[in-house]
Symmetry: C2
Subunit: 274 residues, 2 copies
């Protein structure tokens, strides 16, 4: 068998680890793949780790012991995050995006895999330490962001439904009041999709009054699920008093003024201040 | 400035390229990042490429000239694909997944970022040569798979809506007949989300009669969009005559027999035969 050089091992290992964030691989896995000793694999890991840290591209975490292994942990460099979120605010603060009724067109961002991959990396880095068992979101616009955040965290996603689709089996449903529309709505979660006693991270695209997130919190209580945190891509400045107080937004929608054709978003405080 | 070793450059470059599939980076980008000459960067790229190809983990494509650069192209190794799809068929062929009405519970798969990342890699590799400008899907269950496939292809996603949401601006809507339910339904696409004359790849999670995909094809015609191809995760064996003939499925749902508590999926022919 041909000997595989260190350079080649490093390229292959980096590809495997970085394409599967927060998923653990045993040293044996790489040892078998490269037909090399575990000590060699450990040296490779150390080199990759140093390089990722030096260029602020993430980290490798190793765990010792029989079930030990290595996994890639995406870290969001704050300088790059700030620059990215500032640019995104500028992109979104475009009066051509104002839709009738004072809505903001942002599907091009929320459905761009490249943009939401980036957003997911930032949210994942922010919530990494909370170690959620799964991410909860509600259909439909929040799903892509939730998926990408969960991809980075290495955990599954559970999607609450707004109408109770047939193909999910028995459901638990709650009624909640949307703070913005003041209308009663229904939100359901498939019984088999959530494990009692686990920890959830709530992710959504947009928060105005906070009614939807409050609905998700209520729904999780029915499953005895602990809420590790809540992250949204955009929160509106008004109303200041939202139905939930503990959440992290990436951007703040300061105003959408349809009459004066003006829209303004700014980065959330925690992004500016770091 | 500290000299960066080849090992370290290779780790950092592999991370950057593999985390952004089909997105082009200039040689200058890496030359600046590492403070090294372009010829050195080219040598690094050659090493990474050889390693990715040797371990069937993907490819690097370089383009020459002023606007030249390098991008990571994910390739799905057919042996691993076949093994993965076989295992997925076994996982799904579990009678506990049968829901009232003969539906199949598969949200745990369709909302698992790790599973749909894998599925997206396979679909992307299958449709890579068609070079679509964007992926079209219809809300809601197909969205995650579409997002991950587009992430791998490096293209955006456009999501057709089933009810015409307010926040997308002016819409083009069509009525279509769902082959399975024989009911008339509406599907809409935001006018600003699609560029006339571009090429679309249609991605959805499930195909029974093909009515939904036919609806998407109809909708795209209104935008003068060429259809590059259609990919679905699961197609049912029956009816054999679907409303669209040209599509690629990963798995075939042979039967769901609620009375006899039996469900069977098998890999699509093209996966078995390669």
């Amino acid at each position: 068998m041909l000997k595989i050089r260190r350079n080649e091992r490093i390229a292959a290992m980096t590809r495997i680890l970085c394409s599967h964030p927060n998923q653990s691989y045993t040293l044996q896995h790489f040892s078998d793949l490269f037909n090399s000793g575990k000590s060699t694999v450990c040296e490779d890991i150390a080199i990759i780790r140093d390089s990722l840290l030096a260029f602020k591209l993430g980290d490798l975490e190793t765990t010792a012991g029989a079930g030990g292994g290595v996994r890639f942990v995406p870290l969001a460099d704050m300088d790059r995050t700030r620059k990215y979120i500032r640019e995104l605010c500028l992109t979104l603060s475009d009066s051509n995006r104002i839709l009738p009724g004072g809505y903001l067109y942002m599907n091009d961002i929320l459905h761009s895999p490249q943009q939401i991959h980036r957003i997911g990396e930032i949210l994942a880095a922010r919530f990494l330490d909370l170690k959620p068992d799964f991410i909860l979101t509600v259909e439909t616009k929040g799903t892509p962001v939730a998926i990408m955040t969960a991809f980075e965290l290495g955990c599954p996603v559970v999607v609450a439904s707004r109408n109770g689709l047939l193909t999910e089996g028995p459901l638990v449903s709650i009624n909640y009041v949307s703070a913005s529309s003041q209308r009663i709505q229904t939100m359901s979660l498939s019984k088999r999709s959530v494990r009692e006693g686990s920890r959830a991270l709530i992710i959504d695209d947009f928060m105005k009054g906070g009614g939807t997130v409050k609905g998700m919190i209520q729904l999780l209580k029915e499953f005895n699920v602990e809420i590790a945190g809540t992250g949204v891509v955009i929160a509106t400045r008004q109303p200041r008093e939202k139905m939930v107080s503990d959440y992290t937004a990436l951007m703040v929608l300061e105003e959408v003024n349809e009459e004066e054709n003006r829209v303004k978003l700014s980065p959330a405080d925690w992004i500016c201040s770091v």
